[in-house]
């Protein structure tokens, strides 16, 4: 690393005062990525938390690693089931196939996202910051494995441009950028993002077992099948918890996501209040559906409504969304009471969309985006309620005095 330091030191005079001044944001970005910045506080309070934006981001990335590794294995596993070769393929074959699918997506996402960020750091004349580090990993993890790379790039550019830079960059966004990318991809390229053939890699290609259907557990539930399976592989609760079900790359394994959640909660980066109340909200909606299931319009809907509420937590992207997306500190509610309301409603709407709307077999994306928009409103009323409470207390104190 010494030679990089030397190189950066050598270039410093040129970019700070010399001819290459426009390149300063890039220089600054490389330096903060590679080394601990030597910024010191010049005025005001000198007590600082050691956790800065970069460390926050890196912690989230560590929390994502279990889901990412499992996702790689899962892509390969389901691909070889579809081709009928799963008996002969070992752990490494699955992981290698998954890596070939996932790594280019991560690279393309970073290239597209950082490209827009760097462009805007020039236009706005501020240094490039670490805002895209986490989004760059999250976006591939919530896409299907066979998503064409250019679609990933277009969605990423849209999300960074319209979801974030328009509002003023990192920390100013209303919506979670990664989910914005997924929502864009979902509506722009529905063929690649939904349906029965999207979730298992290679289904469009050759060598697939005849009559193989890749319908996910949730879409089989929606069709009224309460014991979903694919080609003899049961999509039961145990497999759903471990993550051996088809789905977006990183969302399937509840176990891996729980490890990530533990890291986020332990370091205090993700809000346990949002996660916990989100689970409560989902369970509550599941219970309500159980009660009203006998009155459903069709038998299929009735069967879906009647599934045990805790199944909803295991299938689809709910676990991933509520742990990694809903807790995004920028777009979630800021007040502590607001976090309870925000989390609860996210879980509530997620299950409601999932069960009610046949157009969206999964509801967590739209639920979180909707609650992102509502978060400032929740915060407003929480703050106003507090103001009123204190005003009353002050008046009471005055009256007594």
């Amino acid at each position: 690393m010494k030679f990089i330091q030397d190189l950066l030191d050598k270039a410093r005079p040129a970019v700070t005062t010399g001819k290459l001044k426009p390149l300063y944001p890039l220089h600054n970005a490389i330096e903060t990525m590679m080394f601990v910045p030597d910024h010191t506080t010049h005025s005001g309070a000198h007590v600082r938390d050691s956790i800065d934006l970069k460390r926050t981001m890196v912690t989230v990335i560590f929390a994502l690693v279990p889901a990412l590794l499992f996702g790689m294995w899962n892509i390969g596993h389901w691909h070889y089931i579809a081709t009928g070769e799963s008996e002969t393929m070992g752990l490494m074959d699955n992981v290698i196939y998954g890596a070939i699918k996932l790594l280019p997506m991560i690279i393309v996402t970073y290239a597209a996202g950082l490209g827009v960020e760097i462009l805007f750091s020039y236009l706005r004349k501020h240094p490039v910051n670490e805002g895209f580090l986490v989004s760059g990993i999250l976006i591939p993890l919530i896409m299907p494995a066979d998503m064409p790379l250019w679609m990933v790039a277009v969605s990423t550019i849209f999300a960074v441009l319209i979801g974030k830079e328009v509002f003023g960059g990192t920390g100013m966004n209303i919506l979670n950028p990664a989910l914005t990318a997924r929502a864009f991809a979902f509506f722009a390229y529905p063929k690649s993002m939904s349906g029965d053939s999207a979730w298992i890699s290679g289904l469009g290609g050759e060598g697939i077992v005849d009559g193989f259907s890749g319908a996910t557990a949730l879409s089989q539930f929606a069709a009224g099948n309460t014991a979903p399976e694919i080609a003899g592989h049961a999509l039961d609760m145990k497999n759903a918890f471990l993550g051996i079900i088809p789905g977006s790359i990183g969302e399937t394994s509840v176990l891996a996501i729980l490890i990530g959640a533990a890291i986020l909660i332990y370091t205090g980066i993700g809000s346990w209040k949002i996660m916990f109340s989100g689970v409560i909200g989902a369970l509550f909606m599941g219970l309500v559906f159980n009660w009203v299931a006998p009155y459903a319009a069709t038998p299929a809907v009735s069967d879906f409504m009647a599934i045990p509420p805790h199944w909803h937590l295991l299938y689809g992207g709910f676990a991933f969304g509520i742990v990694f997306m809903a807790t995004d500190p920028v777009s979630a509610s800021q007040t502590e009471k607001g976090k309870w309301i925000y989390g609860f409603l996210t879980g509530f709407f997620c299950i409601a969309i999932r069960v009610f709307n046949p157009g969206f077999p999964e509801g967590v994306m739209l639920a979180i985006l909707f609650m992102n928009v509502m978060a400032p409103l929740i915060d407003h009323y929480v703050v106003q309620a507090n103001v009123k409470k204190r005003q009353k207390r002050a008046q009471l104190a005055n009256a007594n005095a």
């Binding site: 250019w150 679609m151 277009v154 319209i162 390229y189 529905p190």
Partner: protein, 222 residues
């Protein structure tokens, strides 16, 4: 009273004086009805999926606004102030019915695509806005120029949005599959379905506003 004195002064003014030309050019950029006044947004979202209906819609608005502005301007000293909105509505409704029947007679397909939005020209804020803000206080010729400018400003945005949406949403221009000639479908290109949904029109209008505001000095807010 004040209008009369103005009219006397303006008798000597040439038809396309600098002031009159500004009536036409202002709404194209600095006072654009859609991007600056943010009027007529609903129709801009609804009928910009394809270029053809967008152009027909712009022409319809041009006709209604042009004729309406002149008629209102001619009657401006006769209309009692209290019932002026009703009078304006009668004028614009008659004109819209004319347009609607003409479209049904000669451009039936486009008329079906535009569906209720031709009828909704009546409630298009741009038209009532120009009647109220301009035609009621200015001479017919000026009112006509103002109508030309505003209809052109409205149409320009509509056509820009429709161009982007039709090209990227269905890979076509005026219903001709332009993109299939380039052969990019063979290498995996897929049309963007989101372009066909109304929210994308809103986003494109927003991007146009963004570009316009950052380029026009008078619109940059502190």
């Amino acid at each position: 009273m004040s209008t009369e004195t103005q009219e006397v002064a303006k008798k000597s003014e040439p038809l396309f004086s600098k002031k009159n030309r500004r009536l036409m050019t202002d709404p194209l950029n600095e006072n654009n009805p859609i991007t600056v006044q943010v009027l007529g947004i609903c129709s801009a979202l609804a009928i910009t999926v394809k270029l053809e209906p967008a152009i027909v819609m712009s022409l319809s608005v041009f006709f209604v606004l042009g004729a309406g502005n002149v008629i209102i301007s001619l009657m401006r000293n006769l209309i009692p102030n209290r019932i002026r909105i009703i009078v304006q509505l009668v004028v614009v409704a008659s004109l819209v019915i004319l347009v609607d029947q003409t479209l049904k007679a000669f451009l039936y397909d486009v008329s079906k695509q535009l569906s209720v939005f031709v009828g909704l020209i009546i409630t298009n804020c741009i038209i009532m806005g120009r009647f109220e803000a301009f035609a009621l206080g200015n001479t017919p010729w000026k009112s006509f120029l103002d109508a030309v400018g505003n209809a052109a400003g409205y149409g320009a945005i509509l056509i820009m949005v429709a161009f982007v949406r039709e090209l990227f949403g269905s890979g076509a221009l005026f219903g001709v599959d332009v993109l299939s000639w380039t052969g990019i479908y063979e290498i995996g290109y897929v049309n963007n379905g989101m372009m066909l949904l109304p929210p994308m029109a809103l986003i494109i209008v927003a991007i146009i506003i963004w570009i316009q505001r950052s380029r026009t000095k008078s619109l940059i807010e502190e």
